[in-house]
Symmetry: C2
Subunit: 222 residues, 2 copies
């Protein structure tokens, strides 16, 4: 097909394509908990057959974004506040603590450049109020560090957890209260990583992730 026209589509399999479309639709609240997902409709809409759609649905099921019932179809799932706060976020802390510590010795100069670019992107997105771009860069920042940790299970689990957390915050917590602060926190985190002291990094990771959870409940101090 297309010699020069649109060479990007075939670079990823149709299954990956479908997964990405649906995951974005769910995490951005275009699809909501309870919405039914009908294979043949999705296939027609996305211009494929049902096979890739089915595999995509199985993957999203494993990511906890959809549930499916034999012969009765699939629906979009929601997450409770209790599960996010007591399960998903603590798990994310465990994953990132380990991944960041493993990544410390493996981050190359190119990696640091890439991370800095992402922080810059966050600053710019925060400046113009582009919360989606901000969130994308935020996620990509963390994902990049975890990729560099070279811990496959860690990365795989993170990818499973993260969309649910994002869907929850996108739906129930109207974006970041303080976009500029988010960018700044990542800059600080990056600076700490560059110093390379494990204990300091782990501490920074803890505080960093929990900022998402409790945006402004400082009852003890400031």
């Amino acid at each position: 097909m297309s010699a020069l026209g649109l060479p990007r589509v075939p670079s990823q399999s149709r299954r990956e394509h479908v997964v990405q479309i649906l995951r974005t639709a769910i995490t951005s609240a275009r699809l909501n908990p309870g919405d039914r997902l009908i294979e043949v409709d999705l296939a027609n809409e996305l211009g494929t057959s049902r096979a890739p759609v089915r595999e995509a649905l199985r993957q999203l099921e494993q990511e906890g974004l959809v549930a499916s019932y034999p012969y009765r179809g699939s629906e979009v799932l929601g997450v409770s506040q209790a599960e996010v706060e007591q399960v998903l976020v603590p798990i994310r802390v465990t994953l990132e603590r380990f991944a960041f510590s493993q990544a410390l010795g493996r981050l190359s100069g190119a990696d640091f450049e890439q991370l800095q670019l992402l922080v810059d992107e966050m600053e710019e997105a925060a400046g113009v109020g582009a919360t989606d771009r901000l969130a994308d860069a935020d996620i990509r920042f963390h994902e990049l560090v975890i990729e560099c940790s070279e811990q496959p299970h860690c990365l795989q689990l993170w990818k499973t957890i993260q969309p649910r957390v994002r869907a929850y915050f996108r739906r129930d917590a109207p974006a970041h209260d303080d976009p500029v602060g988010v960018a700044k926190q990542h800059q600080e985190l990056l600076d700490v990583i560059k110093l390379g002291d494990e204990a300091t990094v782990l501490d920074a990771v803890d505080r960093h992730i929990h900022l998402h959870l409790a945006p402004k409940p400082p009852p003890d101090a400031g």
Copy 2:
């Protein structure tokens, strides 16, 4: 087919069937890290077409038991000791702490009976040295409590974590050192659950899970 002969096979879909076969083969070390999984061969061996096999492989990929590469096939994955000890087990603790606390108010008399049956099964299996039966009952015990917690994401994540942990211990830590002790520990855990005090239960869960990790390093006390 078969009006009375073998009515159990069709109760689960062929995909579930394939998943179960492969997962068992991996967690029981009949398949080892690096082994290639070829769709056509699996399909022929299991008497189905490739479609259910493919979906099963996608699911196992999400469970971290296999990895697959576009147009190049799938292989069985292993887990490192560091990942088990620093990632998978801590995540399991997080999941079970939450699930057990949520389950406390929801466990019915029938549930307690079922749990007691599983503990009895463990005792018997431990008595005759049937480590696989012991491990099955062990897993089922925890799974049952988590099911009763009615936290879908918790259950889903637990099902994702657990096979990797089991595969690791089955492969690298030759079964439980002390089968009778395992059964006894579950009886104690069940007794604590029956009492219903949350703090005590959480404490028991912590200690219970960590027993798997460090089977016999009691440097401080007994």
